[in-house]
């Protein structure tokens, strides 16, 4: 039973067979074999046809020739017998010896040139002859002896005539006396060659045969080419001549006994004579043309076959090369695709999976764990001192360290586990088959130990530590993002715990610091992603209202959260240490901007920048600043660093040293938020300050609250006493400004006239002021 499926399968199979057949490796040899078959079949057929035709022609020719020859021999014999009968009649009726002369005179004898007619007496002596002959006595010869017993034509055996080098044949008939007794014989003598003189080389060739064979097996004459022979060894008459009565002469292809030549032999017993005629055509000669043709055909077929095979071999070779090169091209494409895919999913430095691949693996791991109700763990790992190594030893050493770390991480894991590099010094490990949490802890400890072993970088031994955060599925999250984020949070917890340890994520940890950590996470990338910018707030002279300087204010343009105020993220940056690179960026950007304004032809302005506690405590602060000033071309006199009052008071000795350093560079120093830091005035006096900035909390109520008014007056007075520039912060109303002017404050800041704005607008503002300066010297007031 064939269903449709079965049919379609059969069709498919046959199609596939056809397809396979169409492949050059099979197609070419198949065609070649077919063509060879045709060539050889055709050639062999042609040879066979030609040979058959040649054989047929030889047979026909042999038969025709024997017909003709038989007729000629019989006629010649009859003529001879006729002559003998005439002689016998004349002899017996008339007189004896003179009959020959009379017969000759009447032209009743055969031509003298070829025949000798003679008469013998009863003793065998020749008594009369038509012309002189060598034969004079025949008493002991068969032609004579035979006639004694019978009265028939006798054909004698060939007689050699050595003197003439020829064979002669004698024919005889009995002559009777009047009483009927034997009186002698009449004889005709003729050269044996006469009977084969009809040998035609054009028909019989050089090795054919024409001959007369006696029933006694003795050849009367035989000719082959120009060679005439007679007598010789008797041959088996019956084997050569078919039985009498066979009208249609069979042509036998046989090797003739007398000379060993293979011939198309026809033999025919003569009627009324004890002789047979034989005609033979040499097989070699008759088939020579066919054989030559055969050799030609075979040669051509062989040559054709050889050429065909050569062509097929060449084609096969070419097609194989083509296929190979195609295969090669395909392989290369595949290899290229594989390489591209590899690069897309692997980290170039460590050859570990990258974030994309890890995300995939984690997704699969979660699916698997979900389906089989299993746990998995995500380990977040961060090197603790990587940045320092990178900074102090250079990127190459840092890269080498990361590679070494990658190698060590792999040795800590099973084959089924996965480790990826997310970027920087962050690695993440996936333990997809987690029996219980202690295993994750074991792995984490193993990792910590592995990383803690000393590294040798550029010939020196170094030690680094790592902090590891662990989150597990399904407890700490059901999706990729949550698990990763929570592992990250746990990692920060580990860092908080003093580094070189691992922490499991906990819900509490999350609620405490989720926001902070989320902020922290994105803060880490903000610099790279250019999310920071600086706005500038003008500082004005309180009397002239003219702009005297700027303060750079950091803004974070978060892609999702919008603009984030410094007070929100600076503490986080401060805590994580990110403030150092961020602070550097701020300083550099502000200085570059200041220089740019000057280049645009705008007036020289001071540029104030806030320093945080961490920045201020940074050992590299002074060298970094010096470097930065050189790099940007900023005049140190124009740079003013604002440091919170509280900060200076933490460690007075260090603060003094740092401030001294700054002063030496020519940088101006301002105390920020002055008035709320409980500074002792004596201490304050030690610091090399240039400016004090009155905290906004005093200014806010300066116009209304008397205490604030008094304090502000006191601060201004103190500043003046110490020869410091006094700046009021947070001036928002005209009243405040008026009060401050009144009390000889030097400069003011705040939303009253001084809204922070982008650099371009500031430039515009400065230009406008340049024009209107003379006309409206106190426009602000």
């Amino acid at each position: 039973m064939f269903t449709n499926d079965a049919w379609s399968q059969v069709a498919h199979t046959s199609r596939r067979c056809l397809h396979r057949v169409a492949e050059p490796a099979i197609l070419f040899p198949a065609i070649a074999t077919l063509v060879l078959g045709v060539i050889w079949a055709w050639t062999l057929n042609l040879i066979s046809v030609e040979r058959t035709a040649a054989e047929h022609a030889a047979t026909l020719s042999s038969r025709e020739l024997v017909d003709t020859y038989e007729a000629q021999v019989v006629r010649a014999l009859r003529e001879i017998d006729q002559t003998l009968k005439v002689v016998k009649y004349a002899y017996e009726v008339r007189d004896k010896q003179i009959v020959l002369q009379e017969l000759k005179a009447r032209a009743l004898l055969p031509p003298d040139m070829l025949f000798v007619v003679s008469i013998t007496d009863r003793n065998g002596n020749v008594v009369a002859s038509s012309r002189p002959s060598a034969v004079t006595r025949v008493a002991d010869q068969d032609v004579f002896q035979n006639q004694r017993r019978s009265d028939t034509l006798s054909v004698g055996r060939p007689q050699a005539d050595p003197s003439a080098g020829v064979w002669r044949l004698l024919f005889s008939r009995r002559l009777n006396s009047v009483d009927g007794s034997f009186a002698g014989v009449a004889m005709v003598e003729v050269e044996a060659a006469y009977f084969v003189s009809g040998y035609d080389t054009s028909k019989l060739g050089a090795r054919g045969v024409l001959g007369i064979l006696g029933t006694d097996g003795i050849f009367r004459v035989r000719r082959s080419g120009e060679e005439v022979a007679a007598a010789g060894d008797p041959v088996d008459y019956k084997a050569v001549v078919p039985a009498e009565g066979a009208f249609e002469t069979a042509v036998m292809v046989s090797t003739n006994a007398w000379d060993g030549v293979r011939r198309y032999t026809s033999a025919r017993q003569l009627y009324d004579f004890p002789l047979a005629v034989i005609v033979g055509l040499s097989e070699d000669e008759r088939l020579a043309a066919a054989n030559t043709g055969m050799r030609t055909y075979l040669w051509r077929a062989s040559a054709g076959s050889a050429i065909l095979i050569l062509i097929v071999a060449i084609l096969g070779r070419l097609s194989r090369q083509l296929a190979l090169s195609r295969q090669h091209a395909v392989d290369e494409q595949i290899a290229h695709a594989a390489r591209v895919e590899y690069l897309a999913y692997h980290d170039g430095l460590t050859a570990l999976p990258n974030r994309s691949l890890f995300s995939k693996l984690l997704g699969q791991g979660i699916q698997h764990a979900h389906r089989y109700n299993k746990q998995l763990a995500v380990l977040f790992l961060d090197l603790d001192r990587f940045k320092q190594i990178n900074d102090s030893l250079g990127h190459q050493a840092g890269d080498q360290l990361l590679q070494e770390v990658a190698t060590r991480l792999k040795t800590c894991l099973r084959d089924s586990d996965a480790v990826a590099r997310l970027g920087g010094d962050e690695f993440v490990v996936l333990l997809p088959e987690l029996e219980d949490e202690t295993h994750a802890a074991t792995v984490a400890q193993k990792i910590l130990s592995a990383v803690a072993r000393p590294f040798v970088l550029i010939g020196q031994e170094f030690r680094v530590t790592a902090s590891v955060g662990i989150s597990t599925y399904p407890q700490d999250g059901l999706d990729e993002q949550t698990l990763t984020k929570n592992a990250d949070i746990a990692m920060y917890q580990a860092k908080d715990e003093g580094k070189n340890n691992f922490q499991f994520y906990s819900e509490k940890l999350n609620t405490d610091s989720l926001e902070r950590l989320a902020l922290d996470l994105s803060l880490r990338h903000a610099l790279e992603r250019n999310e920071f910018r600086l706005d500038y707030q003008a500082k004005r002279d309180i009397r002239s209202g003219l702009i005297t300087g700027m303060e750079g204010l950091l803004r974070w343009q978060h892609p999702y959260l919008g603009t984030i105020a410094p007070m929100q993220f600076i503490p986080v940056a401060e805590e994580t240490g990110l403030i150092v690179p961020i602070g550097k960026w701020v300083l550099r950007t502000a200085c570059l901007q200041n220089v740019a304004w000057q280049k645009q032809g705008l007036p020289r302005m001071s540029m104030a920048i806030n320093l945080t506690a961490r920045q201020f405590a940074d050992e590299r602060l002074l060298p970094d600043l010096a470097e930065m000033l050189v790099a940007t071309g900023m005049d140190a006199q124009l740079l003013e660093l604002e440091i919170a009052e509280s900060l200076l008071m933490r460690d007075v000795a260090t603060s003094l040293r740092t401030l001294g350093g700054l002063k030496n560079m020519g940088i101006r120093i301002a105390i920020d938020d002055f008035g709320i830091g409980y500074s002792s005035l004596s201490t304050l006096k030690q610091f090399p300050l240039d400016t004090i900035k009155i905290d906004r909390s005093f200014i806010r109520d300066v116009a209304s609250v008397d205490e604030d008014k008094a304090l502000t007056e006191a601060i201004i007075a103190m500043g003046r006493t110490l020869s410091l520039t006094v700046v009021a912060q947070g001036v928002e109303t005209k009243e405040q400004a008026d009060f401050l002017r009144h009390n000889a404050c030097d400069e003011f800041q705040g939303f009253y006239l001084n809204v922070p704005m982008p650099a371009e607008q500031i430039a515009e503002l400065l230009r406008t002021q340049g024009h209107s300066q003379d006309n409206h010297p106190r426009a602000a007031a």
Binding site: R75, P111, D112, M113, L114, E191, A193, Y194, S197
Partner: protein
């Protein structure tokens, strides 16, 4: 001088005597004279334009005649005639006893052709060709 002329004459005469031994092919006075090639064809049985007459095998003129006309010896001539006779295509020339008999036969037969010794030549026949 006379002596020299006499010698020359003797020489000429002796040469003439040699000419006298030459063979002359003769035909009937009314018949056209054949060329040497035609004579050869006639005596080898290839042409029947004339009836050839032969001299006996014993006569020396016969071998000389065949040699000069056909370039063959008597054995070869015999072989050629053997073939003709055997295949029934003709009969060899009739043999006559001597030049006189030949001359007489030719004079009597307008179709006949023969060869004789120059010495036997006379007006009864036409000399067609001299062989020397």
């Amino acid at each position: 001088m006379n002596k020299q002329i006499a010698l020359l004459l003797v020489g000429l005469l002796s040469t003439g005597a040699t000419f006298g031994a030459d063979i002359i092919v003769i035909v009937h006075p009314t018949a056209a004279a054949p060329t040497k090639e035609q004579v050869a064809d006639i005596y080898l049985g290839k042409s029947r334009a004339y009836t050839p007459l032969d001299q006996t095998e014993a006569s020396p003129i016969r071998a000389e005649f065949y040699q000069k006309v056909t370039g063959r010896d008597l054995t070869q001539v015999k072989s050629a005639w053997s073939r003709i006779v055997f295949t029934g295509k003709g009969q060899p020339p009739r043999e006559l006893l001597d030049s006189a008999a030949v001359k007489q036969a030719v004079a009597a037969d307008p179709k006949a052709i023969g060869y004789i010794d120059r010495s036997a030549l006379d007006a009864t026949v036409k000399a067609a060709l001299a062989l020397n």
